[in-house]
Symmetry: C2
Subunit: 499 residues, 2 copies
Amino acid sequence: MNEMTFQLGTDGTKCLYEQIYEHVKKEIKAGKLLSGEKLPSTRFLAEYLQVARSTVDYAYGQLLSEGYIEARPCKGYFVCPTEELLQLDGIDQTEESLFGSCIEGKTGGRALGQTEERSWGIAREACSSFETDTELHGKGGFLVDFSPYEIDMSGFPFSVWKKITKNILTFANSELFARGEAQGDQGLRCTIARYLHSSRGVNCRPDQIIVGAGNDYLLMLLEKVLGRHVRIAMENPTYKRSYQIFRSFAYQITTVDMDESGMRSDKLEQAEVSTAYVMPSHQFPTGTVMPIGRRMELLKWAAGGADRYLIEDDYDSEFRFHGKPIPALQASDRHGKVIYIGTFSKAIAPAIRISFMVLPDSLLEKYLRKCAFYSCTVSRIDQSILNEFIRDGYFERHLNKMRKLYRAKHELLLECLQPLRDRFVISGENAGLHLLLNSRCGAAERELVQAAAFRQVRVYGLSESMVEDASHSTAVLLGFGGLSEEKIREGAELLRKVW
Amino acid sequence: MNEMTFQLGTDGTKCLYEQIYEHVKKEIKAGKLLSGEKLPSTRFLAEYLQVARSTVDYAYGQLLSEGYIEARPCKGYFVCPTEELLQLDGIDQTEESLFGSCIEGKTGGRALGQTEERSWGIAREACSSFETDTELHGKGGFLVDFSPYEIDMSGFPFSVWKKITKNILTFANSELFARGEAQGDQGLRCTIARYLHSSRGVNCRPDQIIVGAGNDYLLMLLEKVLGRHVRIAMENPTYKRSYQIFRSFAYQITTVDMDESGMRSDKLEQAEVSTAYVMPSHQFPTGTVMPIGRRMELLKWAAGGADRYLIEDDYDSEFRFHGKPIPALQASDRHGKVIYIGTFSKAIAPAIRISFMVLPDSLLEKYLRKCAFYSCTVSRIDQSILNEFIRDGYFERHLNKMRKLYRAKHELLLECLQPLRDRFVISGENAGLHLLLNSRCGAAERELVQAAAFRQVRVYGLSESMVEDASHSTAVLLGFGGLSEEKIREGAELLRKVW
């Protein structure tokens, strides 16, 4: 591996392990280290660079946790295929010229690198002790709770978040405590625009983005933009929270049949609605990924009427486990028909109450006219923290690390459920934080849930996500995001016994 | 002053100046030091306590800035009348038994005391440099902007806020990053309930409180609770933002005439509305304080129908300058008819996106049934910071300090406008951050605004707050919250020349 002949810097801005980590990552991203290529052993590299072996170990460990390299027992470290890795190339400051107006507002985030090693150590400790607490006792009396709504908080980049917060507060002036822009701060909107373009193919200007405290709030705001009397199409089953929210509006909700490609466009045409709510990247709860053909049909439907729009809820697109990431539906939209909604609550932490909505120009104009007086619901401090977290590469690292972690859990759960395959059709195998099990012999959902509960295992009936015709469900959801590998094994074992 | 014979503690939890400050404050609050009583000189007290004179100076300075004592030139320090001071007696931890269930969640806030002295120094510096920046250049090309919407950010307790944030992040675990309760965290709601009871006479249980990211959001949520087809009464003029928000709903808005006591109850009765929006403590923009008789009439009107409610927007009740604080309308409500809304954006900082709404039981039941699925819009970190800020006494200190600061500006502006009294009726003299000037000779508002603008002074036409019949306005608003004393003098001087 002759590319490893790099110089360790001595200017003190980055610690040694960080330099090694960055170098190897760069080489992999640039294709100079190819998939399957063997890396030098940690001992060899340590001697070559004249650093402690633990330093190289730490750098390799970080690359391992983010999925750049893999360890093969007794053989060493090898480069992983990179097409599945998230690479937010347009985001770091080297390409800031892309959005000339957005350069201001950068504080000294790089200084963080110096103390990260210690910070990460602390973070893992702090989180795992919390995890033990709640996992030991289970939730609501259950031994194992396969909740599809939980995420793995042990992966939260605690210390980095704290460091950025402290950093921002140290350099903060009163401006940060004054009222900000209604749509969210320009700096954060620029960063989100770049992130969306780079990771999801979304095409938008920062001024099309509205930052808000959670999806619920953004949908409330969207109600004011779209008007009160919207006829909206939803799939059945669908994401129940969105259904509840639309129902709390004056919206007339029509359910439209799905097939294996998602919402049927012929049925949508017949439904006489103006708006359709879809999750093309990973439908909740079925896990369906909408193929490009169906996407085109939906976009064509939307283009067929001036007041027609598609609401794309891209709630967990970050967690796709097989194949290249699929771009957002918005990426294929040529007629300004897609309202794109995303959140950081799932990818970072539920308490990070920051979501965003990308409005097409026709609706942006309405927003500016009718709703621009609504103050932004996210504090400027929080916006600044998130901005730095994404811009300085921590979000990319975090996502790659979490994807690897969730993929392992996902594969483990699939493996543990293998013996149940003769009795259940298992779907949702490519993405997301849950699987869907549909009984082959028509066992009622209620019985499946009750049988599991008898063994103190909580599974979630598909009917909970159904808007109508819920009584005949024979399927259950098994989420794994918030469970440890031990709990997944334990839960699956119990389910095998009882089903 | 024999009460001053207290012992300085040596356990190191509080620095010396803090102990002196706390002791004198306690004596004043307890009535042991009476209004008008002379305090020992700083030299005498320093010698007596065997501490540096600067320590006593600092303690007296703090008491001075919070309005507990006053300095009379060549005479010394004297105790101020205390009935005008905010005293949040029910809030500190000694009375936590009042709300038995709320004791949890307390972190080691007291440790802050140790470094406050230094922190405050830094805070003042950081803020004043910002103030210079924007004040020098004015806003939108104006030399002086009498905006009624700005507050004095130089008084923001910067370092205390930073310290609490750092403290909370240091002790934070993943739980703080997990999803919180929909209504806001129990700890904060308990603290708000105590604060409201102590400072505003509001009677409520913590479970009646809903915490949200700003008043705009809370009104949106209230729309979901009250239902879509509300007929609402507003005063004219009124707070325009609330009007815009109600108009963006499907609300039918009726304006109801005001007299010198506020909204007329006879006209309200005739208006055939179900809800009335009022600001009884300090009507915006007229500054009217609603007397108890009118309050009783409004409450009686509300009690006359099952679906009748009063929305009390208590937006700046903290800043009353003369006489005892007037309790909230909610304090007199015996039939569960008042929806009380308050915010921390005005009293602390606009970027602190935390407001709260107190629902009467009948609406709480509706909220729980129809809206409890809406996630809380405020991050748990921010909730924890605010909770500690209030609970550990910083909010009380901050409010007393700001009140003193605003009162000085208020009196200065009144004094500077004295020569204009023959041409204008000046109202709003008891509270709030603006005055209302009504032309005696019927000069049109537009001309007054333009004449001021000619001298690069921005004043705000009353018509901006008017919902109808705005064309005949002869009044302008002069806000002073965000202006320095120099700017107030300069602006008033220019107005005297031009009007």
